[in-house]
């Protein structure tokens, strides 16, 4: 076999690649565009998850938007406040701090303490299950526990527990809100990270109905509203709602709640049992 059959193609293709490479290398120097150094700096401190939680196409898009003034330095939901401060420092801004928000599944009615209308054997997706009479649970506002949020979470922060309920790991949650948008039941709520007292029910039906279908639902007794020393609990659509601005995490409501659906600081939870 003639060796030139191998050598000619290798040399010609390799030569072409070399020439193109050289041209591109020269061009990249010659046509270099001055990119604002701040964009590069901001991009460097961003987490790089490209989750889109900020509303811009990826971290690059957000960095561009910050420099062009379209986004604020604390617009990245994933970043800690230190990183937001770094971004602000790069931009020369005054630091605007905002508290980190994390996702929380406001339903504790798992398979052992809530009623079911029927057994669901379909596709393992909350969205699919929701199409069939709003899911198998009697409570039409509760977590279906089929893990649509688990699949969408880019940070592996959501698990389905043994009670068939989605549980968010506050350590891993970055607050990108993707699960909030994905959940067909809208049972995931963004809550400030330091907030310890949380009302774990999403059912807006009257107390009588809630009592029949779930042992851990808000029955609308308003005991917590009266008990709260800071007037931080309001009532809306048969459901208690905490004003996180006013709440001091004192835990009085946790102790008073007859159905034990309000979560509080660990020491109070231990006391209540």
């Amino acid at each position: 076999m003639d060796l030139s059959y191998i050598i000619i193609p290798v040399i010609s293709l390799g030569g072409m690649a070399l020439i193109f490479g050289a041209i591109l290398a020269v061009a990249s120097e010659k046509f270099k565009v001055e990119v604002d150094q701040r964009i590069i700096d901001i991009r460097a401190v961003l987490p790089g998850a490209n989750c889109g939680g900020c509303g811009f196409p990826g971290c690059d898009g957000y960095a561009n938007a910050v420099v062009s003034g379209a986004a604020k330095s604390n617009g990245c939901p994933v970043c800690s406040s230190e990183i937001a401060a770094q971004i602000a420092a790069i931009m020369g801004d005054i630091v605007e701090t905002c508290e980190k928000q994390i996702a929380h599944v406001i339903c504790k009615g798992g398979c052992d303490n809530s009623q079911a209308d029927f057994e669901y054997f379909g596709i393992k997706s909350c969205k699919a299950a929701n199409r069939i009479k709003g899911g198998s649970k009697s409570c039409k506002a509760g977590c279906l526990g089929l893990g649509t949020c688990v699949l969408v979470c880019p940070f592996d922060a959501i698990k389905i527990d043994e009670n068939r309920l989605a549980v968010v790991d506050p350590e891993k949650c970055t607050g990108c809100k993707q699960c909030v948008e994905e959940c067909p039941k809208h049972v995931i709520e963004m809550i400030p990270a330091s907030q310890q007292v949380i009302i774990n029910c999403n059912n807006k039906e009257p107390g009588k109905i809630v009592r029949q279908i779930c042992s851990v639902g808000c029955i609308g007794c308003k005991i917590c509203v009266k008990a709260c020393p800071h007037e931080a609990i309001g009532f809306e659509n048969n459901l208690a709602k905490i004003d996180y601005e006013k709440c001091t995490n004192c835990g009085v409501c946790v102790q008073k709640c007859p159905t034990k659906i309000i979560w509080g600081p660990p020491e109070i939870i231990d006391e209540v049992g």
């Binding site: 000619i8 193609p9 010609s12 293709l13 193109f20 490479g21 591109l24 061009a27 046509f31 565009v33």
Partner: protein
């Protein structure tokens, strides 16, 4: 070669042998970037630009390099090399010389590297043994045909967004049905040249 044959190539490229509708090349950007008329025009412009340039360059590479060395069988890989390098180069030049055009074309420019319509045009040019002028005309008309098709499709999709469609067909399914109907409509041009 006369102007009539060039005109025939031109019409054939835009209507009769439309890249998307008759040859089914470049379907990915056709479906992917056709949600809004504005972005569709951007994509069409970028493709037109790149295909015309790529036609000329690959023609030169083929007849000045591959044919004399008798390595025509390396056509595909050589053309891909040319197109990829060209797109990169064009991107750099545009970014420097015309930031506004760069912004308008946006992410579509680098996407064209992997657009099979570009490779398709260049290979068809060689297969049909066109000369340089015919190659340019074929490249330009094929690319304009692509731009035309994606523009029409985006227009229809924009209207579909607002119309009352059975929910099972919403979004992608109806887009595919629309695309196939458009393809059938383009069949009407067969026999024109």
């Amino acid at each position: 070669m006369n102007t009539t044959s060039l005109f025939v190539i031109f019409i054939s490229g835009i209507l009769v042998n439309n890249f998307v509708m008759s040859r089914f090349l470049g379907i990915c950007p056709f479906v992917g970037v056709s949600k809004q008329v504005e972005t569709a025009i951007g994509m069409g412009m970028a493709v037109t630009f790149v295909i015309t340039l790529a036609s000329i360059l690959t023609y030169l590479v083929h007849y000045l390099l591959l044919v004399p060395l008798e390595i025509e069988y390396l056509q595909t890989i050589a053309f891909i090399l040319v197109i990829a390098a060209l797109v990169q180069f064009v991107e750099m030049v545009i970014q420097k010389s015309s930031p506004s055009l760069y912004k308008a074309l946006g992410v579509y420019l680098p996407l064209i590297t992997t657009n099979c319509a570009v490779l398709g045009v260049t290979i068809i040019n060689i297969q049909e043994s066109y000369n340089l002028i015919q190659t340019i005309v074929n490249g330009l008309s094929g690319a304009l045909g692509f731009a035309f098709a994606i523009f029409l499709f985006a227009g229809i999709r924009e209207r579909l967004e607002l119309s009352n469609i059975p929910s099972v067909f919403k979004g992608f399914p109806i887009a595919l049905i629309t695309a196939s109907l458009m393809s059938i409509a383009f069949l009407g041009f067969v026999g024109l040249v």
